[in-house]
């Protein structure tokens, strides 16, 4: 990753226009051609520097639901529990964390009812207690990391 990649990442975290030639609109102020921007963006996605690029939809406003949940996975079953939980398509993110509650995952479903169904199914599959921590209020969401 060089300075141009950093500028691209910083610029694209701020937003992307809806217009006929949006890549050209972003490329120009960076001193790049449209083609150069697209190929660098492709490379950043291919090598995992960017996990995705595109519209970020607000699940709850569309009637969908989200929650954060955690389990204590015993060390000797950690890989097995990871596979069991990740196999659920409703599980969007899953992180290992240093704590007694050592696995934290986000569940996204099309309806609020499916959240409880998914939590119950994960408890049944893993035999673990799932701590459900849905948001009660949101104060800020706006990930911006200086590259």
């Amino acid at each position: 990753m060089d300075n141009i990649d950093r500028q691209i990442i910083n610029s694209l975290q701020a937003g992307f226009p809806i217009c006929d030639k949006p890549y050209q609109a972003i490329a120009e102020p960076l001193g790049l051609s449209e083609h150069q921007l697209i190929s660098r963006l492709q490379a950043l996605l291919d090598n995992g520097t960017l996990t995705r690029f595109g519209p970020l939809y607000h699940a709850e406003l569309m009637g969908g639901a989200l929650t954060l949940a955690a389990v204590t996975a015993p060390e000797d079953r950690f890989a097995e529990i990871t596979d069991l939980i990740n196999a659920f398509p409703e599980v969007a993110h899953n992180y290992a964390r240093q704590h007694t509650l050592n696995m934290w995952f986000v569940i996204a479903t099309e309806t609020p009812e499916q959240i409880q169904q998914t939590l119950t199914a994960i408890e049944q599959k893993t035999g673990l207690r799932v701590y459900n921590m849905p948001k009660i209020n949101e104060y800020f969401v706006g990930l911006k990391l200086e590259a």
């Binding site: 809806i18 520097t49 690029f53 595109g54 519209p55 290992a96």
Partner: protein, 160 residues
């Protein structure tokens, strides 16, 4: 809840995995869906104005940008002033997400969650100290849960 019509849903499903990396991505989507480019752009503009599209942009992998220390800081603060405290913590420029979430007593006494990101342990320590200073006496207990591994990360996808 905002009701989307079939055209909005078509566009959402065609774009939630990402935007095409072609010079005219909205035209590309329109051709795929049998719509005009104008319809795709106007629907997406409207969805963004309504907040259905939070934003269009890039999501980086923290680790690849050098942010090795990604901490979920969790705080036990009084419920009666959590909204005021949450707003203040959420405004700190190093906090990427901030939420009020339920306690699970006695195992889990924390109700305020703030995600922080740093390139060094010292960066994150200083961020945690700033949150602690801001909360003052309202902070009855806290912990920091560092992520050690991304086990799964996908976009939120509709399955239909």
């Amino acid at each position: 809840m905002i009701k989307l019509d079939d055209t909005d849903l078509l566009i959402m499903r065609a774009t939630q995995a990402g935007l095409p990396l072609t010079p005219q991505p909205y035209q590309h989507i329109a051709e795929q869906l049998g719509l005009t480019t104008e319809v795709v752009m106007s629907r997406m503009t409207a969805m963004q104005a309504q907040g259905i599209i939070r934003r269009i942009g890039a999501i980086p992998n923290h680790y690849k940008l050098g942010y090795q220390f990604n901490g979920m800081t969790v705080w036990n603060v009084p419920d009666e002033n959590i909204d005021e405290l949450g707003q203040k913590v959420g405004q700190l420029d190093f906090v990427s997400h901030c939420y009020h979430r339920p306690r699970h007593l006695p195992d889990w006494p924390y109700n305020l969650f703030a995600m922080v990101h740093g390139k060094t342990q010292a960066d994150v320590d200083s961020q945690i100290q700033q949150i602690s200073d801001l909360l003052g006496h309202a902070n009855r207990a806290c912990e920091v849960l560092y992520s050690t591994k991304i086990l799964k990360k996908t976009g939120f996808r509709s399955r239909s």
